[in-house]
C-alpha cells in the first residue's frame, strides 16, 4: 500500500518522482520541464516569427542603438550568462552533498537575476523619459513586448529561486535527492531564459 497512515495528511507515492524510470532514463520533473521548455520555444518562436514579419515588411527599421542603450544591455547579457553558471554550480555542489555552497550559488543566481531586472527598469524608465513608448513605433512595440515577456520569465525565476533558497531549502533535510532534482529542473528553466536572451539581445540591440 502507499505510505504510512499519518494523522493529518496521506501522501500518495508517485513512482519515478526522484529516481528515473529505467526505460526512459528520466525522472518525472525532468521530463516535465523539458516539455514545458518545448512549449516556451513555441511561445517565443511565435514572437520571433512576428518580429521577422514586421521587420521584413517595414519600409525602414532603426538600428538598435538609435533608441536603446547597448552598453547597459551588454552588461545585462554578461549578468545573465553569469547567473547561468552560478545555477549549474549550485546544482553541482548539491550533488557533492554541499548544501552551504549550493545555497550560496542559488543566492548568487538570485542576485544576478535581480540585477538584470533592475537594469531593465533603468532601461524602460529612460525610454519613457525620452517619450518612447510601445505605441510610438513598431520597433519599440516589439522591443517592449519581447523584453517585457522575457522579463516576466526572469521574475518567475526570481520567485522560484527565492523559494528554494529560503522556505524550500527545508526539503534538503528530509529528501536531499529530490531537492537536488528540483534545483536541476529550475536550472534548466533558467538556462532557457538565458538562451532566449542570447537571441533577443542581438536581434533588438545589434541588428
Amino acid at each position: 500500500m502507499e505510505g504510512h497512515a499519518e494523522a493529518h495528511e496521506h501522501v500518495l507515492e508517485i513512482p519515478h518522482n526522484v529516481h528515473p524510470r529505467p526505460d526512459t532514463g528520466l525522472y518525472n520533473a525532468k521530463l516535465g520541464i523539458w516539455l514545458f521548455l518545448a512549449s516556451e520555444v513555441m511561445l517565443f518562436g511565435a514572437l520571433f516569427s512576428s518580429f521577422i514579419l514586421i521587420r521584413t515588411s517595414a519600409p525602414t527599421w532603426p538600428r538598435g542603438w538609435e533608441f536603446l542603450n547597448v552598453p547597459l544591455a551588454t552588461a545585462n547579457t554578461f549578468i545573465l550568462i553569469a547567473s547561468s553558471v552560478t545555477v549549474v554550480l549550485a546544482w553541482a555542489n548539491l550533488r557533492l552533498g554541499n548544501l552551504k555552497w549550493g545555497r550560496i550559488f542559488i543566492g548568487l543566481t538570485l542576485v544576478c537575476a535581480l540585477a538584470f531586472l533592475v537594469n531593465k527598469g533603468f532601461e524602460y524608465t529612460h525610454e519613457f523619459e525620452e517619450h518612447r513608448y510601445p505605441s510610438t513605433s513598431n520597433f519599440l512595440a516589439i522591443y517592449f513586448t519581447m523584453t517585457g515577456l522575457h522579463g516576466l520569465h526572469v521574475l518567475g525565476g526570481v520567485i522560484v529561486f527565492a523559494y528554494f533558497l529560503f522556505p524550500g531549502a527545508k526539503m534538503w533535510k528530509t529528501e536531499p535527492a529530490r531537492y537536488t532534482n528540483r534545483i536541476e529542473v529550475c536550472g534548466l528553466y533558467w538556462h532557457f531564459v538565458d538562451l532566449v536572451w542570447i537571441f533577443l539581445f542581438p536581434s533588438l540591440y545589434l541588428m
Binding site: A5, P15, N28, G32, Y133, P134, S137, I142, T145
Partner: protein
C-alpha cells in the same frame, strides 16, 4: 500442463488453492483501506478534499461538472440566436432576458447577435468541449487505464483546473461589462477586434488563463503516460483512448503557445496602443486612427490558426478514443487494425501542425503557398479515413450489444463521416472560394463537433458513469436521449450545407434574408432548423434528469452495478467502483500481461474476454468444483 483449479473472485481469476489465502488477504486490505479512509477522510478538511483536491478523479469530476454547465450555457446562447434566425424581427420573451440594451422589445440587436455568436463559439470550444474531453475524461480515465496511482503532478493538476475555472469566470464576467462581451467572432480577427468594445479585452485575459490551464494539463498528461504506465503496459498495449489523449496533449503543448503570444500582442494593441495588427492609414467611422501603423492583420490569422487548426483535432481525437473503447467493448471482439489506428493518430497529430492556412485561402496568399496548404490538407484526410474505416470494419462479424453508450458511439460514425467528407471541398482552394465564410463551413464543423464529439462525450458519460458512481444511468431514457438528439441534430445542421452552397454568409444576424440570393433558402430552412434546435434542447432534459437522479442516488449510497458491469478488458475496470479519493486507485497496482482488447480470444472459454491485468486466461472450472465460501460470480451470458 496440469490444470490448477481456478475460481473467479470479483473481477479476478485466482488459483483455487491460493484463493482462500488471497481472499483473506484481499478482505484484510480492503478493511485496512476503509479504516484509513475513515480516519483520513475526516482528517483532510472539506476544502482540501473537494475544493482544492489533488486527486485526479475528483479533478476530473470538477472539470466534467464545470464543462457540462458551460456546455449547457453555450447551447442556450445558440438557442437565443436561433430564435432570431428562424423568425427574424419577431419579438420573443426569451430574448427579453438579455435586457433592453441587447434585445429591446425582445428583438435581438445585430451587435448583441455578434456577442452571442462570438461567445457561443468561444465557450463551446475552449470552456466546454476540450475541458470535458481532455480535462474530465482524460483526467479521470487515463491514470486508471494505464495503472497509475494518480497523475504525475497532482498539485499541477489542481492548478490547471483552477486556471480553467478562473478563465471561464472571466469570460462569463464579460457579459456584465459595458457594451457586453467580445463580438468579433471566436476568431477575433483584427483590425475589428482591436477597435472593438472592452469585452474583447476580457476575452483576451480569459484566453490567457484558459491557455495556461491547457499547457499545464498537457504537460501532466504527457509525463503521466510516458512515466507512470504500470509494469507490462508497453505503448502498444495501451488502450486507444490513451493514445488519443497522448497525441492530443502534444497538440495542446506545442500549438497553444503561439495563440498565447498572439493574445499578448493583441492585448498590447488594445491596451498599449501598439500596431502589431493595425495597418497604416486605417479609418474608423470616418476618423483616421492615430496609431503608428505598419502592422499586419494577417499575422494574427497565422498565429491564431496555427493553434486553432490543431485545436480541432484536440476536439475530435479524445472522442475517437472514447468511441474506439466502446466499440471494442460492445462488439466483444478486438478493434480491427490497432496498429493502423495508432499510426494514423500519430501521423494525424503531426500533420495537423502544417495545414492551418487552409482557413486563410481568401487572404490573398499566392499560388505556391496555397498549393502547399491544399496538399497537406488533402494528405491529412487520409489518417482520418483510416481511423473511421478501422472503427467501421471493427463492426464486421461482431456480436453487437446495443447498449446506450454503443448507440451514441455508432451514431458518431456516420456523423463524423459526413463532417469529414464535407471538409474536403473546403480544403481545396478553388472550391473554398465559393464556400468560405458561408453556412457550409458552419455545417461542416458542427457535424464533426456536435453529432461527432458531443455524441462521443455522451457515450463516454453513459459508459464510465458506473465506474465513477456505482450506478448505471437509466437505459430507457438514455435511448430517448439518443434518438431524439440524433434526429433533431441532423435537422439543425444538415440544411446548413444547402444554405452554404446557395451562398448564405455566416455571422448574419438575420440569417440572410436581407440578401436577394439568400432570402429564399433562408426563409425555407431557418425556421425548420430553429424548431429542430428547440427540439434538441428538449431532448437534453431527460439526460439532465437521468444524470442528476442517479448522481443523488449514488451519493446516498445506492449502488446497482459491480466493478465491471460492461465486462471490459481495460484496467480502469479493475479498479473498484468509485475509487476512494487520495489513496491511489488500486488496492494493488496491477501488472499488464496482454493487449487492451482481448475479447473473443481463443483461450477464452468461460468468459468471452480476458482483462489486461490477468496473468493467465481462466481455464474452465471442473464440474461442481467450486469453493462454497469464495465469492464466486457467475458470468452473465
Amino acid at each position: 500442463m496440469a490444470q490448477r483449479k481456478q475460481l473467479r473472485v470479483g473481477t479476478q481469476w485466482l488459483y483455487a488453492d491460493d484463493a482462500e489465502k488471497l481472499l483473506r488477504e484481499a478482505i484484510r486490505l480492503r478493511e485496512q483501506e476503509e479504516q484509513r479512509h475513515r480516519i483520513e477522510g475526516h482528517a483532510l478538511p472539506f476544502w482540501r478534499q473537494y475544493i482544492f483536491s489533488t486527486d485526479h478523479k475528483w479533478i476530473g469530476i470538477q472539470y466534467g461538472f464545470t464543462a457540462l454547465c458551460f456546455l449547457l450555457f453555450g447551447f442556450s446562447l445558440m438557442i437565443l440566436m436561433r430564435l432570431q434566425l428562424g423568425w427574424p424581427g419577431h419579438a420573443f420573451s426569451a430574448l427579453k432576458l438579455l435586457g433592453e440594451g441587447r434585445a429591446p422589445g425582445g428583438i435581438l440587436l445585430p451587435e448583441a447577435y455578434n456577442q452571442l455568436g462570438a461567445m457561443h463559439g468561444t465557450i463551446m470550444v475552449f470552456m466546454a468541449i476540450v475541458p470535458l474531453a481532455v480535462g474530465a475524461f482524460g483526467n479521470y480515465v487515463v491514470p486508471l487505464q494505464i495503472g497509475a496511482p494518480d497523475m504525475a503532478f497532482p498539485k499541477l493538476n489542481m492548478a490547471s483546473y483552477w486556471a480553467y475555472l478562473t478563465g471561464g469566470l472571466v469570460m462569463l464576467a464579460s457579459f456584465a461589462v459595458k457594451d457586453g462581451t467580445a463580438n468579433s467572432g471566436w476568431t477575433s480577427y483584427p483590425p475589428l477586434s482591436v477597435i472593438a468594445t472592452q469585452g474583447q479585452t476580457w476575452w483576451l485575459v480569459g484566453m490567457i488563463f484558459l491557455i495556461t490551464s491547457s499547457l499545464l494539463g498537457s504537460i501532466n498528461f504527457l509525463v503521466t503516460i510516458i512515466q507512470l504506465r504500470a509494469k507490462g503496459m508497453t505503448f502498444m498495449r495501451m488502450p486507444f483512448f490513451v493514445w488519443a489523449q497522448f497525441v492530443t496533449s502534444f497538440l495542446l503543448l506545442l500549438a497553444f503557445p503561439p495563440l498565447e503570444a498572439a493574445g499578448v500582442l493583441q492585448l498590447m494593441d488594445r491596451v498599449a496602443g501598439t500596431s502589431f495588427f493595425l495597418p497604416s492609414g486605417l479609418v474608423v467611422s470616418g476618423q483616421p486612427l492615430h496609431n503608428a501603423g505598419g502592422g499586419n492583420p494577417i499575422l494574427w490569422q497565422h498565429l491564431f490558426w496555427f493553434l486553432a487548426h490543431p485545436e480541432v483535432y484536440v476536439l475530435i481525437l479524445p472522442a475517437m478514443g472514447i468511441v474506439a473503447e466502446i466499440i471494442a467493448n460492445n462488439t466483444r471482439k478486438p478493434l480491427w487494425g490497432y496498429r493502423s489506428l495508432v499510426g494514423a493518430v500519430v501521423f494525424l497529430g503531426f500533420m495537423s501542425f502544417v495545414v492551418w492556412a487552409h482557413h486563410m485561402f481568401l487572404t490573398g496568399m499566392g499560388t505556391l503557398i496555397s498549393a502547399f496548404f491544399q496538399t497537406t490538407t488533402m494528405i491529412i484526410s487520409i489518417p482520418s479515413v483510416v481511423i473511421l474505416s478501422a472503427l467501421f470494419i471493427s463492426l464486421w462479424g461482431a456480436s453487437i450489444r446495443f447498449t446506450t453508450p454503443m448507440l451514441f458511439a455508432l451514431g458518431f460514425l456516420p456523423m463524423f463521416g459526413i463532417g469529414g467528407l464535407t471538409g474536403l471541398p473546403l480544403g481545396l482552394a478553388t472550391a473554398d472560394l465559393h464556400l468560405h465564410d458561408t453556412y457550409y463551413v458552419i455545417g461542416h464543423f458542427h457535424y464533426v463537433v456536435a453529432p461527432g464529439t458531443i455524441f462521443a462525450m455522451f457515450a463516454g458519460i453513459y459508459y464510465w458513469f458506473p465506474k465513477v458512481t456505482g450506478r448505471k444511468l437509466n437505459d430507457f431514457w438514455g435511448r430517448v436521449h439518443f434518438w431524439g438528439s440524433f434526429l433533431c441534430i441532423n435537422g439543425v445542421f444538415f440544411p446548413m450545407f444547402l444554405q452554404g452552397l446557395a451562398g448564405v454568409s455566416r455571422r448574419l444576424y438575420d440569417g440572410g434574408i436581407q440578401y436577394a440570393h439568400a432570402k429564399a433558402i433562408a426563409e425555407q430552412t431557418n425556421p425548420f432548423m430553429s424548431i429542430s434546435a428547440i427540439g434538441l434542447l428538449a431532448f437534453q432534459v431527460p439526460f439532465i434528469l437521468n444524470f442528476f437522479a442517479n448522481v443523488f442516488a449514488a451519493w446516498r449510497g445506492k449502488k446497482n452495478v459491480d466493478d465491471n458491469p460492461w465486462q471490459a478488458t481495460t484496467i480502469d475496470w479493475a479498479a473498484t467502483t468509485s475509487p476512494p479519493l487520495g489513496h491511489g486507485n488500486f488496492a494493488v497496482l496491477p501488472a499488464v500481461y496482454r493487449g487492451p482488447y482481448e475479447y473473443s480470444c481463443p483461450e477464452c472459454t468461460t468468459t468471452d474476454f480476458v482483462p489486461q491485468h490477468v496473468e493467465t486466461a481462466p481455464a474452465p472450472p471442473p464440474a461442481g468444483g467450486m469453493l462454497p465460501e469464495a465469492a464466486v460470480a457467475q458470468r452473465e451470458m
